[in-house]
């Protein structure tokens, strides 16, 4: 069963007339790790927005964990996102005035489901994830997000995406602000943790040499069912 399924999805931003995506078809299986590649402006981030339920999509085009995203009203989509998805962005992932641990626990504020999936105290789980992602929870856990290095921030963001074991992790260029070495170790750890949690991973990246962390690489040009 596919965890993410996009079928015959076309999208035009309200402020423009040009279709970003046309008849896109695309699936990601449960516990599959997929790398999405494509030129700038080809609609990768738009596709992520559609899957995460931030933009309005037609009924029957996008479904996640068996739920038709287009059929949900906006407020339910927010709840659904909190329950089923973990998101990581390129930069500025963290609320600067919250501590690393508080940032990691943010999804638990909005999702009962993810709270319920954590056995034991929430803090402990946040610490476990930090340690698993190569961060020292005792020194970095209480420090303000704004005091962390960019590489550390991205790991905290990854921990936040992973907490409460969501079905899907969406990552939009999470490594592009990192130097090559950090990049490699970040990918290694993320990939490992995603595999451990059994989530599906859909990641957008321009970076070369990340293929080995993924089960499959998809080019944007392959998405459109009809020509293009």
């Amino acid at each position: 069963m596919s965890q993410i399924s996009v079928s015959d999805f076309s999208f035009v931003w309200p402020s423009s007339t040009v279709a970003v995506l046309q008849n896109a078809c695309f699936t990601v299986d449960a516990d599959e790790r997929v790398l999405l590649r494509g030129p700038s402006g080809s609609g990768k981030s738009t596709l992520m927005a559609a899957i995460s339920g931030v933009i309005d999509v037609p009924i029957g085009t996008v479904s996640v964990s068996g739920q038709d995203i287009g059929a949900l009203p906006a407020s339910k989509r927010d709840r659904f996102r909190a329950d089923h998805m973990g998101l990581i962005f390129q930069v500025f992932n963290l609320v600067p005035w919250l501590s690393a641990v508080d940032n990691i626990l943010l999804p638990c504020r909005y999702s009962k489901r993810r709270r319920a999936r954590i056995a034991g105290p929430l803090d402990k789980e946040a610490h476990r994830l930090m340690a698993a992602l190569g961060l020292d929870p005792d020194t970095l856990g209480p420090s303000h997000a704004s005091a962390l290095s960019v590489g550390q921030q991205q790991r905290v963001a990854a921990a936040r995406a992973l907490i409460g074991a969501p079905d899907v992790i969406l990552a939009d260029e999470p490594t592009s602000a990192l130097d090559p070495e950090t990049k490699a170790s970040f990918m290694q750890l993320l990939s490992q943790q995603v595999q451990d949690s059994g989530a599906a991973l859909l990641m957008v990246s321009h970076d070369e040499g990340l293929d080995r962390h993924f089960d499959r690489v998809v080019e944007m040009s392959e998405l459109s069912g009809v020509g293009a």
Binding site: R79, F89, Q90, W97, L106, S111
Partner: protein, 421 residues
């Protein structure tokens, strides 16, 4: 849940946030003080005036007569014949009369010459009689009875000798040091103007003036006065008094008495109903009161605008923060709720701090107001109307936050999860 997040966010901006809280606190303290002062002044005045049905005085302005007699502020000017008091006593519907003589002060406190009937009949604060904390009413013409505030402020006790000065103000123009009085009674506190008064017997008061005016321009007047004092017996009304209080046994008699006074031919007199005169006084002071209220409300509004400015100014800088919150599952509604909660929290903190300032101010100002103006500040922590006012301010704060909240709502919808700026 939202609250802990909001508190953390506000702590992050604690400098601007605390300035905003302070602004609201000061405006709240101001508006509460203005209201309390106004209410207290009115209650104090109403309480002082509640037990007298009519004040008879030489014809003059009602408010001036009221202030001079019941509050010891200013004077009624000329005197009226003592016969009037005897005349009033026999009118139908009149239960009692109390003659008053005025024009002296003791260290700034008004001195009233009156009969023992005063302590028997005068009522304050909706029908409460005067009671003695210590001592008794006048024992002889040289005895004095003092109000609670006078006793406390000046540290007087029974047996203290006091000397009065001529004039209504605190400036002693002419001291009657040749005729000291002895305190024989101290009244229990009433929280009205009575607390600030010194009472002496009519005989004592008159004797003082008779002696002071031993060589007056009008030898005839002096002569009659001295005559009167010589056969001065308690209960006899002197030839000249300044005013008289009248108590009615029957409320409807008020018209008859008023008519009799208005048509009294021997001298022009006024019959003042204290409650009516008070209303006149309020209509005079009302404009100033309203201006003051309006101003304090404007200050509250200004502080609210300050809060909206604080919230709005931060929105741009917080765009990213909102996008992050949305990416972890916050709905635009949650974000709006954060802004409104923030506003309510800031307003509530301002109100709480304002209350503390207000209570502190009352504690400091109460003794001063009581001695200087005879106004006793209500000592309740928070009246219902004041609580309602605070609730209104809180609602207003929440309402004002809808403006930035609306902006943030539009923003989060437009931004989505885009965190690039």
């Amino acid at each position: 849940m939202t609250v802990t997040l909001v508190v953390q966010s506000l702590l992050n901006r604690r400098f601007v946030a605390s300035l905003t809280v302070l602004a609201i606190a000061l405006s709240v303290a101001l508006i509460l003080s203005v209201e309390r002062l106004r209410d207290s002044a009115r209650t104090s005045f109403a309480n002082s005036a509640s037990g007298v049905d009519l004040i008879i005085a030489p014809r003059g302005n009602d408010v001036q007569i009221l202030l001079a007699t019941l509050f010891g502020v200013g004077s009624t000017g000329t005197g009226m014949s003592g016969d009037v008091v005897d005349l009033l006593k026999d009118m139908p519907g009149v239960a009692w009369t109390v003659p008053l003589m005025q024009g002296d002060n003791h260290k700034g406190f008004p001195v009233i010459g009156t009969s023992e009937a005063y302590f028997e009949h005068f009522k304050h604060s909706r029908g409460e009689a005067l009671t003695f904390a210590q001592g008794t009413p006048f024992a002889d013409p040289q005895s004095a009875v003092i109000g609670a505030e006078v006793a406390q402020r000046l540290g007087y006790g029974l047996g203290t000798e006091i000397v009065n000065a001529h004039g209504a103000g605190s400036v002693a123009l002419e001291v009657h040091d040749e005729a000291p009085f002895e305190v024989t009674g101290i009244l229990a506190r009433t929280n009205t103007a009575v607390d600030r008064m010194v009472f002496v017997s009519l005989q004592g008061f008159e004797k003082l003036h008779a002696e002071a005016e031993a060589h007056p321009a009008d030898p005839l007047a002096a002569h009659t006065k001295e005559d009167h004092v010589e056969n001065g017996v308690a209960g006899v009304v002197p030839a000249q008094v300044n005013a008289a209080y009248v108590g009615l046994s029957n409320r409807t008699a008020v018209l008859g008495v008023q008519r009799a006074i208005a048509t009294y031919t021997k001298e022009p007199l006024s019959a003042v109903m204290p409650n009516v005169a008070l209303l006149q006084l309020w209509s005079i002071t009302g404009t100033a009161e309203n201006a003051l209220r309006l101003m304090s409300m404007a200050v509250v509004v200004a502080s609210m605008i300050g809060m909206v400015v604080m919230l709005s100014a931060a929105l741009e800088a917080r765009r990213r923060e909102f996008a992050i919150l949305r990416s972890v599952g916050a709905s635009p509604r949650d974000v709006v709720l954060m802004i409104v909660t923030e506003a309510l929290l800031v307003t509530a903190s301002g109100i709480v701090l304002g209350l503390l300032i207000f209570w502190g101010a009352i504690l400091l100002a109460a003794p001063l107001l009581s001695t200087q103006f005879g106004v006793t500040l209500g000592n309740q922590m928070l009246g219902t109307s004041e609580a309602a006012l605070l609730l209104t301010i809180l609602c207003f704060g929440g309402l004002a936050s809808l403006l930035p909240a609306w902006r943030v709502y539009r923003m989060t919808l437009a931004d989505g999860l885009t965190t690039k700026l």
